[in-house]
């Protein structure tokens, strides 16, 4: 039973950064913008998040640094892809290339340093309940925040007027513009939200997942988050399922070592990436009747006035 509890705990921990980053990208894509720079924003968020926490000793300030770093990175993207109407695919790639370099530069001073990771919640009585106690009432704050975040995004997208306008921009920017909505401003805000989430997701890694920073520690999680949005058909509910599934695959790989499965570790490590490819293929195939992607996703919009 302790093993089951440990596995659930580690699955939640592995899923949380994916869920946060993918939630941000979901909002960005719902507004019609394809930002492939998630990995770059995440990795800068990781370096800045660790730096902030290491300098101040506060996990909260570290997370804040991560959010700010991710948002600033996303502003570069917004300027390029929205204001200058540059191809979004190329801009997103540039953001990732830049992010990998920046994070190495920023993080160079912190390699080898350790911090105290984010504390897990402990409520006497509740957390002590066998089986469910630690899983439900013993997580770190990021885990609860990620769940609140996706619920908030669901509510925003489907229950508010602003969410409706945002989705309209993603489905038909010409009509949204004709109705008088500031498409570029709405998209900029959506991109910034995506950046903030990616930065926080990156910061989660050195602040809660491992207590140290190493270059390249996001290891493609930003790309997996992008795939998750496709997996979720751009719907918040399915995103939760997808993120936890992928977290489980990641953990399976770690535990397989412990269980003495005679498969080389590299093959197990390749599982999340292979799973992503397979999932993308199966989903795209199942959906061949019609795409569920926002209709204007990835297209350039230059308002003519």
């Amino acid at each position: 039973m302790e093993l089951v509890e440990a596995i659930i705990l580690s699955v939640l921990a592995a899923s949380t950064p994916l869920l946060i980053a993918a939630t941000g990208e979901l909002v960005t894509e719902r507004a019609g913008v394809l930002n492939l720079g998630v990995e770059g924003m995440m990795i800068v968020g990781a370096a800045c998040g660790f730096g902030g926490a290491w300098l101040t000793g506060s996990i909260f300030i570290g997370a804040l640094f991560g959010i700010i770093a991710g948002t600033l990175m996303s502003l570069i993207f917004a300027l390029m892809a929205l204001r200058l109407a540059v191809n979004q695919v190329a801009t997103g790639l540039a953001l990732t290339i830049l992010g990998v370099g920046l994070s190495g530069l920023i993080g160079a001073g912190f390699v080898g340093e350790r911090i105290t990771p984010a504390a897990h919640l402990y409520i006497p009585g509740l957390t002590d309940i066998p089986l469910v106690g630690r899983v439900l009432f013993g997580e770190d704050a990021f885990v609860y925040f990620s769940i609140a975040l996706i619920i908030g995004v669901w509510w925003f997208l489907y229950r508010t007027r602003a969410g409706l306008i945002l989705r309209a921009c993603g489905d038909n920017h010409v009509s949204a513009h004709a109705l008088g909505y500031p498409v570029l401003r709405i998209r900029t805000l959506a991109v910034m939200f995506g950046g903030a989430c990616a930065g926080l997701a990156g910061a989660y890694l050195p602040l809660a997942y491992t207590p140290f920073f190493i270059p390249g520690m996001t290891a493609g999680r930003g790309w997996i988050a992008l795939a998750l949005v496709v997996f979720a058909s751009w719907r918040p509910g399915r995103l939760v399922v997808g993120a936890y599934l992928f977290g489980a695959v990641t953990i399976l790989q770690l535990h397989a070592q412990g269980w003495g499965v005679g498969i080389p570790s590299q093959f197990m490590s390749a599982l999340p990436y292979l799973a992503t490819v397979i999932v993308l293929v199966l989903l795209s195939r199942a959906r061949s009747g019609g795409s569920t992607a926002p209709a204007a996703l990835g297209t350039v919009f230059v308002p003519d006035r």
Binding site: V89, G104, P264
Partner: protein, 363 residues
Amino acid sequence: MQLVLEKRAERSNAIALVSPLIAIGLTIVTMTILFAILGKNPLLALQAYFIAPLTDGYSLQEIAVKATPLVMIAIGLSLCYLANAWNIGAEGQFLIGAVAGSWIAVKTQGTDAGAWVLPAMLVLAAAAGALYALIPAICKVKFGASEILTSLMLVYVADLLLDYLVRGPWRDPNGFNFPTTAEFDPVATVPLLIEGGRLHLGSIIALLVVAAAAILLGRTIKGFEIRVVGAAPRAARFGGFYANQLIILTFAVSGALAGLAGIIEVAGPVGHLQPGISPGYGFTAIIVAFLGRLNPIGILIAGLFLALTFIGGEQAQIAMKIPLDVTKVFQGILLFYVLACDSLILYRFKLVFPNRQVTRGAG
């Protein structure tokens, strides 16, 4: 104050020519600021980056050696991007080519295998790179899966496969437990062009690839098809050109070139298979392709320029203790400026002041 884009009546050819130069100029200005922030003398740093490597023969050869894989991969990528197929996984195709070619080198090690070894390695590497690139291409064409994400995921898989092989079955028993194969036999090594130098046959192959691409794009129907499908998909359909076939074709060619570049790097400058054979060539080649305007000659020049930044970055690290990551930042910034300046070809930038806008609206 607001930045507004105004579509030009037709694309500006003058700006198309100078925009890479503007981009390089802006990047250098930005780097000067970055060096100052890092507390390094910007003039000395720029000198170390861009001038010093050009002043001695060894560095010049080294630039050509570094440019070889960049140019080969970027030529392939440019074909994909022209046809609107987004191959982002050249890094993985490079690694798979290196692994497949090395298989022959490892298996024939110490035997009296003849001169067929190196050619066989090159062919197998190109085939493996092409096959690896076909996975995302077929997933795209058959199932509509995003080729961007699938080709990228396969980079990590290739990286792990290479890691497994050099730590496991192919590890050099006399390698002091380092994850590497034994040094390749002379018959499995790319010959040098200058005795005792660094320049090798791969650079000639890269030049041939550039020439072949220039002919393909400029003089053949296939090249025309690629460009039409990318630029005007609807017109291409009326012309009977099929985007799907071209996705398959351009992915296969770019995978083959990346795979070839991979084995040339391993059997040439590196000399054995080990992790970290690529300082991100597959990703830097994306920058090379864009900086070179997706044009073969442009890519050759851009490849040499990016190679200069690699070598300059190493020299700046040794001479001025400037971190190597600065090179990656430099490359990222350069790509941003290249893309932003490209926007100038199609649009005019205009600054609009809101109050003036109101008066204009009222009048």
